[in-house]
Symmetry: C2
Subunit: 319 residues, 2 copies
Amino acid sequence: MRIVVLAGGIGGARFLRGLKRAVPDADVTVIGNTGDDIHLFGLKVCPDLDTVMYTLGGGIDEEQGWGRSDETFHLKEELAAYGVGPDWFGLGDRDFATHIVRTQMLGAGFPLSAVTEALCDRWQPGVRLIPMTDDRVETHVAVELDGERKAVHFQEYWVRLRASVPAQAVVPVGAEQAKPAPGVLEAIGEADVILFPPSNPVVSVGTILAVPGIREAIADAGVPVVGLSPIVGDAPVRGMADKVLAAVGVESTAAAVAEHYGSGLLDGWLVDTVDAAAVERVEEAGIRCRAVPLMMTDVDAAAGMAREALALAEEVRTA
Amino acid sequence: MRIVVLAGGIGGARFLRGLKRAVPDADVTVIGNTGDDIHLFGLKVCPDLDTVMYTLGGGIDEEQGWGRSDETFHLKEELAAYGVGPDWFGLGDRDFATHIVRTQMLGAGFPLSAVTEALCDRWQPGVRLIPMTDDRVETHVAVELDGERKAVHFQEYWVRLRASVPAQAVVPVGAEQAKPAPGVLEAIGEADVILFPPSNPVVSVGTILAVPGIREAIADAGVPVVGLSPIVGDAPVRGMADKVLAAVGVESTAAAVAEHYGSGLLDGWLVDTVDAAAVERVEEAGIRCRAVPLMMTDVDAAAGMAREALALAEEVRTA
């Protein structure tokens, strides 16, 4: 079975680990969000790609869900001692190595997709991880700060400001000119099922879908497209999805996110059991819907969710 | 008193610490060797400048004489796990910060001298540290490896090969086109005394002297120029100076090194007490010479050596 998954960071990575446990022999291609990428200290940092790679490769800090296990922060301390910022982005000593290797390879002329493949050579995530694009896309968030409207990098909004001010708009700068990375459209075209994990629908899955060609390829693939709600009981399972949903005029409910994707893209949608009442509304929108437990408390729970998603995909296929 | 010191790495740095203790109120300008500089992992590393800066700024690993105190090597371990080399150069997590800040500033267009000043803002070494040049000079060593003659970077010869094969030639590549960094010639011109610490006469002091204009400025300064022998009892006090002395046809003795500098440059020379017999030969070469203890066992010993060097300079001045 060939499965394509559009993944953001922590939620996507943890779902993928469940999927690998549920169907260890499946051929999984992950299309990773790169809108969160940021240049820090002259280095190219790809938080979402790395979270997927570290999580599936066994190098993740389990507790926080991002960054490396057994990590130290001496380099960061020293940068602060030099007065060189930003100091709000948590780069650890081990993590720095990934960004240094990536930056060197990019500098040598390799596209990000080739660099990601090289990094995965070490981590052996058990999936094929492809960035959504080799081109530069940077998610900016329009906010009002000190009475002034300005656009900040997504990481500045998310990590530095902790989404403490309303997002007025979310713009994947450069997306319109971006091309899907080599292998992205091919993987979608050859997929038996396409999954949207409980990743952020705006700044993770939404950014991937903003790369021209990807949304269309998924809609035209002719295979079941099934998503899992990142909203449980009107609140994000983790992260601050509600903050950016408001910016695109979508209410923070499991049903509204499904409608936001739309029946032209989505065939099936899983909501949590606490949102069972949303099933009817989602199905009225033309999207097959089931209510199942959606809390990824551990790998087994994530595997259970993956099985439910694949079961719903099968239901769609045979309907 | 204005003192100019031409410094390499460990020997120069330790001597400077002694000099600061001996004459705390002196105005000391250090012209640092940059021929050892190397690009590693896309970062500009300046081992000699950093050794001086860390040693005088209180950040040095006292035992090994280079690198940072309280250091960890997690980033380096990870680079090795990615299969990215070289693995023979000991960059620690804290040390990496210096190279990242430097590389960013160079990338932003600042010359190395301005970058060094900025780094010293943090370390407050108590001296003015200026790289010999803002231009790229790279010391290469010609060796025979596996029956083939090739040129390797100085660090490869020194650190990777541990100077285990004979150096057939030592070439400061780029030196001929290099210009002294801003402030170098001015400092020499305004100096009351110029000192050559017990640094390597070929790859440290020799490289600095290879930048056109520096040797001439020192010779024409009209102030005492006093050096300290890095060779004690026919062997280098530390390091492998003998290996590179052979390449320039100089025997590994305190007297031969003085003659190598020559009376056109050097006015005074200190040899260790075990080399007292060399005094006569050095003085015959037209260089005033004294035999004093030259082992920098601690800061007090280094301070004693500095006092002896300044006393000899005073002797030269009043002679």
